[in-house]
Each structure stands twice: as structure tokens, then as C-alpha cells.
């Protein structure tokens, strides 16, 4: 058993300061374990959101030594325990208490995305035929656990608070999952350009780096969406081709 010092942000509604807690830890423990130990032994009033402790619910998102991470998936032996470990709430969202933030803006943003609209069934029994490789492309996006670490690290939200003009990486992943779906016929490109602000993304790839599900957010979701927006609004040659080509609804 060893000791570690945690610097945890304590306070409510944006006001607060770091408080230090010394705590013992056992081999194999994760940050959430020691936070729970501090909560149990030293600070019973400390607010921390968690649920599955398995990296699948996305509840225990926080910033550990300045990097957005899931507390339940960050083992202490990956951190330098000879120095205090800083744990603070996500910076992009309104602060509630201690390590808990209000992430409800994400649910509003998600509602702004047009729903899945499948083409007419391919077969008489009301089913569709799809190629596995076409499904595989969007399958990656379905791994998202909505931890909102990508939203937290994105400087457009974190530094500029453009929540009303920019839906953020998580919702581009969601849009990509729908927009690239082999059955989908809905057109979300005007929304992406005008109200969801895909043009604000300047491709720093921070969202990809912090994703605990290793979704290649920038390369596989955001940039393909940006390219589709270029097709629709910026490329005169593509526009010219569209004049002579009837719009398809099935691919």
C-alpha cells in the first residue's frame, strides 16, 4: 500500500479552490477508487458523478493532471504519484458542485440533429439489404459512450463557449453515424454548415486524442462531414455536376 496526494477542486457553481487530500492506495486502483476513498474517509460531502466503473457509462469524466479522462479508466500506476495528482471538473460545462458539471447542453444539441430517415425497404418483407463494409464505416461511431470528454477538450466550447453555434465533436460523430448510414436519406448538410457550426472546427484533433473509445473523431467523422459540406456549398464543379444529375435518395 502506498500514499498519494490528490488536489481536488472543491466548490460550487464556478466558485472554489483546490484542496489537498493524502490517501493510501492499493495496486491496481484507478483514480475513481481513490476519490471514493477520500469521499468515504475525509470528505463525505464531496460531489462526484459515477456509475458503471467500467468505462462504459461515461459518467466519471474529469480532468486529471489537466487531461480530460474517465476517472474509472485511469490507473494510478500510469500517473506520477510522487507528485500531487490534480483532479478537476470538465471546463467546458457549467459547474455544479465539486467534480460535477451540468452537461445538459449536450442533450439539447443532440435534439437539433435530424433523425434517421431510412429509404423504402429493398425487399417485399419490409427489410433492407446492406453490405457489411458500408455498415462497418458507421459502426465505429456507435461506440460513443457520451462521456463528453471530446466536448470538454474542444477549444471552441472550452475557451469560446460557443455552445449555441457549435454542437461539438460528439454531435458530429452522431451526425456522421446518421449521415453516412447506408439506408439514410435525410439531408443534414445545411444544418451542419449553418446552425451546427462544423466550420468552427479547426482540426486540432484534441477530441480524437481524448476519446476513451478510440473513435477517430476528426478523420472519420468531422473531416468527411466538412467535405460533404464543401460538395454542397463551396465546390462550383460539384454544384455544376448536380445540375445535370438527379439527386439520389438511396446512396
Amino acid at each position: 500500500m502506498s500514499d498519494v496526494t490528490l488536489r481536488i477542486w472543491r466548490g460550487a457553481e464556478g466558485e472554489g479552490a483546490f484542496e489537498e487530500y493524502s490517501c493510501s492506495y492499493d495496486p491496481g486502483m484507478v483514480v475513481l477508487d481513490v476519490v471514493h476513498r477520500v469521499q468515504a474517509e475525509q470528505a463525505p460531502d464531496m460531489a462526484v458523478r459515477w456509475n458503471c466503473k467500467a468505462g462504459k457509462c461515461g459518467s466519471c469524466s474529469a480532468e486529471i493532471n489537466g487531461s480530460p479522462k474517465l476517472m474509472c479508466m485511469t490507473r494510478l500506476d500510469t500517473l506520477d504519484t510522487s507528485e500531487p495528482i490534480t483532479i478537476e471538473p470538465m471546463q467546458s460545462f457549467p459547474h455544479m458542485k465539486d467534480l460535477v458539471t451540468n452537461v445538459s447542453s449536450n442533450y439539447r444539441a443532440k435534439k437539433s440533429i435530424r433523425k434517421f430517415k431510412p429509404r423504402a425497404p429493398d425487399n417485399a418483407d419490409g427489410t433492407w439489404t446492406m453490405h457489411q463494409e458500408d455498415v462497418d464505416r458507421v459502426q465505429e461511431f456507435r461506440k460513443c459512450i457520451e462521456c463528453f470528454l471530446c466536448q470538454d477538450v474542444c477549444h471552441v466550447l472550452r475557451e469560446h463557449h460557443l455552445h449555441d453555434e457549435f454542437v461539438g465533436p460528439r454531435h458530429f460523430v452522431y451526425s456522421a453515424a446518421l449521415e453516412m448510414h447506408p439506408l439514410d436519406t435525410e439531408d443534414r448538410l445545411a444544418d451542419l454548415k449553418k446552425t451546427q457550426g462544423v466550420g468552427f472546427c479547426n482540426i486540432t484533433k484534441c477530441c480524437t486524442k481524448v476519446c476513451p473509445e478510440s473513435i477517430t473523431i476528426t478523420d472519420n467523422a468531422i473531416i468527411p462531414l466538412k467535405e460533404r459540406v464543401v460538395d454542397e456549398f463551396f465546390d462550383p464543379v460539384t454544384k455544376l455536376f448536380r445540375i445535370f444529375k438527379p439527386k439520389k435518395t438511396d446512396s
Binding site: 457553481e13 464556478g14 480532468e63 493532471n65 489537466g66 487531461s67 480530460p68 506520477d80 507528485e83 478537476e88 471538473p89 471546463q91 460545462f93 457549467p94 459547474h95 455544479m96 451540468n102 447542453s105 453490405h131 463494409e133 458500408d134 464505416r137 477538450v153 477549444h155 471552441v156 472550452r158 475557451e159 469560446h160 463557449h161 460557443l162 455552445h163 449555441d164 453516412m180 448510414h181 447506408p182 439506408l183 439514410d184 457550426g197 466550420g199 468552427f200 472546427c201 479547426n202 482540426i203 486540432t204 484533433k205 484534441c206 486524442k209 481524448v210 476528426t218 478523420d219 473531416i223 468527411p224 467535405e227 460533404r228 464543401v230 460538395d231 463551396f234 465546390d235 438511396d250 446512396s251
Partner: protein, 268 residues
């Protein structure tokens, strides 16, 4: 609701402030140094207007040589009507295209926004400027022209491949052309391979060759071209840097051979 949420935001980081404990500054410094060194060297090399050919080799900074004094020139010497007060070099007609391709490249954009504009310096590091318009308005909206630079770069790959072919022919002591392979030939070949790997892994190409369709399997070649571009695209950053270094080295090699500093060893 938005006003309420803004009011209870956590304290904002100052410029350069972060609680990261790793060497987060290393990446932007390395990118600034790498890109800065290349920009300085390529600009200097372009303004030289000399020592860009040796034997059958032609520097990629000067390829294709539209006007010029070497045997590679398509239309002979620089036109007489060119105003004497404007400096000229065959490279001026060339470098804007591959330069534009790299300037608007999705990988480089993210890299130099961090390194040169601190937007942001690195992930979760405080930014200097609070106003932000991104790529939605002028001038950065012009980054959407990337696919047109891609088209030009694909054409340049053909020219550079032809240069490799020219690099296979050497003039012997009788003045006749003979087949051969020199170190310079391999340098030119490696340049085409690396530039090809970088260009063919472009995000725009990945979109145009199949990614724009929801059913990639129904695109040309049954989606195989899309898979190949995707494969290269996964290594886009690596090829971006390798090809940048090697294209500079190729010019340097030809220049040094032309100046008599290097000896171009014949392998065959």
C-alpha cells in the same frame, strides 16, 4: 438558460496556462521548427534560380521547368517580356501549387494552427485570443479550396515520375545517352514514392473517391480505391513529414551535385 450557464462557468485559463504535466509544448515547437525550416529553405532555394539540375536530375522545386535555361525547360528561356524588376525563377511557377496543397491540408491545418497561431497551443492549454471565427469566414473559409490543390498535386506526381525516368539516362563520354541508376535516381524515386503516399492519402481524395457515398461498396472498383486511400490516410501525418523532409533533401542533393560538393555515385 445560456446566460445562467455562462455565469457559473469555471475560471478561464490564461494564455499558456494548463495543468498538464507532460511536455505539451514539444509538439507545437517541433512543428514550428520543422515547418519554419522548410519554408526558409524552400524560399531560399526558389530564389536561387540556379543549380537545380544535374545530369538527368531536376530538382522537384523546379519541376516541371516551364521556362528556363536547362535542357528540361518546356518552352526554352524565360520570356523577354517578363519585367526586369520582378525577380524570376522557374520555381516561382511551381511551388505555389504543392505549397497550397500543404497549406490547406487537413493535417497541416491542425498542426500549424497550434504551432503558429496558438489556436490552441495544445489541447487544454489556455489561448491568447478570446474571439474566434474558425473556418466559417474569410480568410480561413478559403481552406475549402483544398481539393483543387489536390487535383494539381496529382498532376505534379506525373511530372515527378517522368523526372525519375529522365534520371535513368546519363550522357557517356561519347555524348550518347545510356541507361543507368545513380544515387540521385534513387533520391528522385523515393521523393515520388513519399509524395505519392502523402498525396494519395489526402482526406479530400478519400472523400472524392468513395467517401462521399453512403454505400462505399457501390463506388468504382467495389470500394477498393476507397480502402487503399483510407489505408494511406491513416498514416497521413507520417507521410506529410517524411515527404516534406525528402522533397527538401532532393532539392539539396541535386543542388550539391550541381555545385560540385557531392559526387553522384553511379550504381549501374
Amino acid at each position: 438558460m445560456a446566460q445562467l450557464e455562462t455565469r457559473i462557468a469555471l475560471p478561464q485559463r490564461r494564455f499558456g496556462e494548463t495543468r498538464r504535466t507532460d511536455r505539451w509544448w514539444l509538439q507545437p515547437v517541433a512543428v514550428a521548427a520543422g515547418l519554419g525550416a522548410f519554408i526558409i529553405y524552400s524560399t531560399w532555394a526558389a530564389f536561387q534560380g540556379a543549380h537545380y539540375t544535374y545530369a538527368g536530375y531536376l530538382s522537384p522545386f523546379y519541376s516541371p521547368e516551364v521556362f528556363g535555361d536547362s535542357a528540361h525547360a518546356w518552352f526554352g528561356p524565360w520570356p523577354l517580356w517578363w519585367p526586369s524588376w520582378i525577380p524570376y525563377s522557374p520555381a516561382f511557377l511551381i511551388l505555389w501549387a504543392p505549397g497550397g496543397f500543404r497549406l490547406t491540408c487537413y493535417y497541416y491545418r491542425g498542426a500549424y494552427y497550434k504551432a503558429f497561431w496558438a489556436s490552441p497551443l495544445n489541447c487544454t492549454v489556455g489561448k491568447p485570443l478570446k474571439g474566434y471565427r474558425g473556418e466559417r469566414s474569410f480568410p480561413l473559409i478559403l481552406q475549402n479550396v483544398h481539393r483543387y490543390f489536390l487535383y494539381l498535386s496529382l498532376i505534379f506526381l506525373v511530372f515527378l515520375s517522368i523526372d525519375v525516368y529522365h534520371g535513368l539516362w546519363f550522357t557517356n563520354s561519347d555524348g550518347a545517352k545510356e541507361f543507368g541508376i545513380g544515387v540521385g535516381t534513387l533520391v528522385l524515386l523515393m521523393n515520388v514514392i513519399l509524395l505519392g503516399s502523402y498525396t494519395l492519402g489526402c482526406h479530400s481524395l478519400r472523400h472524392l473517391i468513395g467517401g462521399r457515398k453512403n454505400c462505399v461498396s457501390k463506388t468504382a472498383g467495389g470500394g477498393l480505391p476507397y480502402k487503399c486511400v483510407t489505408c494511406l490516410n491513416k498514416r497521413h501525418m507520417r507521410f506529410a513529414w517524411f515527404s516534406l523532409f525528402w522533397v527538401g533533401f532532393t532539392d539539396f542533393y541535386v543542388r550539391m551535385c550541381s555545385m560540385g560538393v557531392f559526387t553522384d555515385w553511379r550504381l549501374i
